[in-house]
């Protein structure tokens, strides 16, 4: 919540910026210790996953939020990054390349995949684009699941285990790191690494948003024909959106593989793509703080329900009436519906979108639905 208010401040006052940054920096730095000791390491692990999902959501936000291209196969790029890491740093091929080689390579390869998958879809719009990207996502997953024969590349459904943990310099993040008599537990170390990369991605996204490229993306989203007539090469700019978005996914995927130590195709199914899309839309499409909020919420919400659905029932009724696991997913589904009904532009829409929803005529909105 600190990050919310401080990010808001970023927009209003120049002097506030420094103060907010410092406060936010301190908050983010001590967060793992507060969470780790207060709520337990499982919440720290959840937080780490939340950071990965933030990266994914920010990547998808470029494609869906900025450029307005509905992509239902985004998780494929996460998979590409994860498998690249798994193949280059595990006993599977006996390769153990360092992380500073693999992560950029993962970003690059995912970016290339993004362009390759984006190219045939350029003429498609809306729902047709959605189904084709969905198809691409499934194609990637199914290939990962089956490329164990005739040549064993991905080890098929068995997945790849024994993946090297992330090493930085002489340190492995898999074990507690001792520095100057201070011990940093493994989960904390991963947190700082993920946080650093997530912040980097936020930075890149903000810079892109406020650039010639970012404006071109939004222009395409708003009106492709007008954008063309303004001299925007929509083909290249769309491909760039796919590439940039995919490369963020590739980074997150690599980190995921190193963090988990195991990858298998089942982590990259359609539901995951859908979840990331929900983060973007629920948070507030096209608005970076909103997307971050969406990523955090949708990662921790099911976990809150997980921790709460049993005990709360016991507290209220004295016993468990409804199966807590079914209830958990039920509440999650309801949350998606309710949030969208009350905040159709997302929880934290960009200022422009918010204005759009303040008592606007239906005339405007009809245009939206074209």
């Amino acid at each position: 919540m600190t990050s919310m208010s401080s990010l808001n401040a970023l927009r209003t006052d120049k002097r506030m910026v420094i103060a907010a940054t410092v406060i936010m920096g301190i908050a983010l730095a001590v967060l793992p210790f507060i969470i780790g000791s207060g709520l337990g390491n499982s919440w720290l692990r959840i937080l780490n996953f939340a950071l990965l999902y933030i990266m994914l959501a920010l990547g998808l936000n470029i494609v869906v939020g900025f450029a307005g291209l509905l992509d239902l196969g985004y998780i494929a790029f996460y998979a590409v990054g994860a498998y690249l890491y798994a193949l280059l740093a595990s006993p599977h091929f006996g390769l153990h390349l360092p992380v500073w080689v693999i992560i950029p390579a993962g970003a690059a390869l995912a970016g290339i995949f993004g362009a390759l998958l984006g190219a045939p879809t350029l003429r498609l719009r809306g729902d047709y684009l959605a189904i084709v990207t969905l198809g691409f996502g499934e194609i990637v997953r199914i290939f990962l699941n089956n490329l164990n024969a005739p040549v064993n590349i991905t080890n098929g459904p068995q997945g790849i285990s024994g993946i090297d943990p992330i090493h930085l310099g002489g340190f492995t993040l898999a074990k507690p790191i001792s520095l100057f008599g201070f011990t940093l537990p493994s989960l904390h170390a991963y947190y700082y690494l993920f946080l650093a990369l997530a912040l980097f991605i936020v930075f890149v996204t903000i810079r892109l948003e406020n650039s010639r490229i970012g404006r071109a993306w939004v222009a395409i989203r708003e009106d492709e024909i007008a954008a063309k007539s303004c001299g925007i090469n929509t083909r290249n700019i769309k491909l760039l959106a796919f590439t940039m978005g995919a490369s963020f996914g590739g980074v997150a995927g690599g980190l995921f593989a190193g963090f988990q130590g195991f990858v298998s195709p089942e982590s990259f199914n359609l539901m995951e793509s859908v979840m990331v899309l929900c983060m973007v839309v629920l948070g507030g499409m096209g608005n970076i703080p909103g997307v971050i909020l969406g990523g955090i919420l949708l990662t921790i919400l099911p976990e809150i329900f997980r921790h709460g659905s049993g005990p709360v029932q016991v507290a209220i009724f004295g016993k468990i009436l409804l199966d807590p696991e079914a209830l958990r997913m039920l509440l999650f589904g309801l949350a998606l519906i309710v949030v969208m009904l009350y905040r159709p532009a997302g929880l934290w829409p960009s200022t422009t979108r918010r204005r759009e929803f303040r008592g606007d005529s239906t005339n405007d909105v009809l245009k939206e639905g074209e």
Binding site: S42, G162, S267, D323
Partner: protein
């Protein structure tokens, strides 16, 4: 090349033989897992009346495999209820077991999150997870925390191959089961030609791969290998293709939800092959889903049938009365809990670090089989029982493997082959070497057969 293999082979065989021969005596085991977070040794519990011991259980409780997950959980719950009713005393304190059930949605990421949650909750041990895909990444977290884990259903060999001293399973792995099934298909079912379908999950594919190897090794021919998914309902296309290859046996590596409809469609397409499947299809659900088409089909389950085991029938009846029809792995999960608690009793402690070494030494008569672990944490022996549908019910046919004799026989055969290979491979270029090899080889062979004979004798005596 092969020359250098001889000594190591010998060693391995000798070790195997010694192990088998010595029965209960334990081979020196590497020190148990470090337990970095374990609390310092507590003083023997003073007159405290009751100690609560938490056991974690993880399986998918939502999503397509939820029915199996709930079944597993019920198995664990049943064990814990029984234990609590009995009122165990360990380390001088009365023990109350509490089950901490978690849902991993069959998702590896969720698997690690709930694993961490269980570690945070300071559970003494973990039963699960159900799927190999979630079990493998989670096992690292348990290992790091020094918490023992026994899975009743994860069959991927990788799980116990990671070198984690905390990882055990009370279920035959894919290799063990696939081997038996392959032999059964070619020998008992007299299948000269075999078609294989798997569902492209870690379980189905692993089992089918091992099955295929075993079929080929025993002289059968795999005429076609087809694939489906664990969400499919329509198999007409692949079954039609298989029909064109006219196999004697059709093996399916996958679950009942696909196996049942598959059998039904097989019949309506006029495919006459015998249907054989592994534990995933060895359920009453299979018969319900396949209907009349299930008659005469085969499946396998690790272990020995419930009603042949002491207490097995009672377990089955009690479970059915309490939770309804056993789906699949509930008895294995039940055994997993019991093995863990048995180890606590022997260690006289509920501290993970204390009873962990005892798990490896288990020799427990479970409701599914006699449970002993090898040095990796895999079920030793691995008896596999085969069943056939008769009058709409699975009926026990026979149990294959599980006998030490069979293992010895195999080891001897392998050693002899190795020796022969070595002799041949050295070739003309090194006649001396060959001579030596031959000499040594025959010596080894003699030794091996002597050991084997001794082992056999020991076994028979037992």
């Amino acid at each position: 090349m092969s020359y250098s293999r001889i000594p190591s082979m010998t060693l391995a065989i000798a070790a195997a033989v010694a192990m088998i021969g010595c029965g209960q005596k334990e081979e020196p085991k590497p020190a148990p897992a470090p337990a970095p977070v374990a609390a310092p040794v507590p003083p023997p519990p003073p007159p405290k009346p009751e100690v609560t011991v938490q056991l974690g259980h993880v399986a998918p409780l939502t999503g397509p495999q939820a029915h199996l997950g709930k079944d597993n959980e019920n198995g664990a719950r049943m064990a814990i209820d029984e234990l609590n009713a009995k009122g165990l005393e360990i380390g001088g304190a009365k023990i109350k077991f509490v089950l901490v059930p978690e849902d991993d949605q069959a998702d590896p990421k969720q698997g690690t999150i709930v694993a961490q949650k269980l570690v945070d909750a300071k559970v003494s041990g973990v039963i699960g997870h159900l799927n190999s895909g979630t079990t493998i990444p989670a096992s690292k977290i348990y290992f790091d925390a020094g918490i023992p884990q026994i899975s009743g259903s994860a069959t991927n060999p990788k799980y116990t191959q990671q070198g984690f001293a905390t990882a055990f399973r009370v279920m035959a792995n894919d290799v063990q089961q696939g081997k038996v099934l392959g032999g059964f298909a070619t020998k008992q079912l007299a299948g000269k030609t075999v078609a294989i379908i798997d569902d492209r999950t870690a379980y189905g594919q692993g089992l089918a791969d091992e099955f295929e190897k075993a079929v080929v090794a025993s002289g059968g021919k795999v005429v076609t290998r087809e694939f489906t998914t664990d969400k499919a309902t329509d198999f007409a296309a692949i079954l039609t293709k298989i029909k064109s290859k006219k196999p004697d046996v059709l093996f399916y590596g996958g679950m009942d939800a696909q196996g049942g409809p598959m059998t039904k469609q097989m019949k309506s397409l006029g495919l006459k092959a015998k249907f054989l499947t592994g534990d995933g299809g060895c359920t009453p659900e299979y018969i319900k889903l396949a209907g009349a088409a299930s008659e005469g089909q085969f499946c396998s389950l690790p272990g020995v049938p419930l009603d042949q085991m002491p207490g097995g029938k009672a377990f089955g009846d009690a479970f059915n009365a309490k939770y309804g029809q056993i789906q699949l792995y509930a008895p294995y999960v039940y055994d997993a809990v019991m093995v863990m608690v048995d180890s606590m009793k022997r260690a006289n402690s509920v501290e993970s670090a204390k009873f962990l070494p005892e798990i490896g030494k288990s020799d427990y008569q479970g409701v599914t089989t006699k449970i002993q672990f090898d040095d990796k944490g895999d079920l030793k022996g691995g008896a596999i029982s085969l069943y056939q549908v008769k009058d709409g019910k699975w009926e026990y046919r026979e149990t294959i493997g599980g006998s030490v004799v069979a293992e010895v026989k195999e080891a001897v055969k392998e050693a002899a082959t190795a020796v022969k290979d070595a002799a041949v491979a050295t070739g003309d270029a090194a006649k001396d070497a060959m001579k030596d090899a031959a000499k040594e080889g025959s010596k080894v062979a003699a030794e091996v057969s002597k050991d084997a004979a001794a082992a056999k004798a020991a076994v028979e005596k037992k």
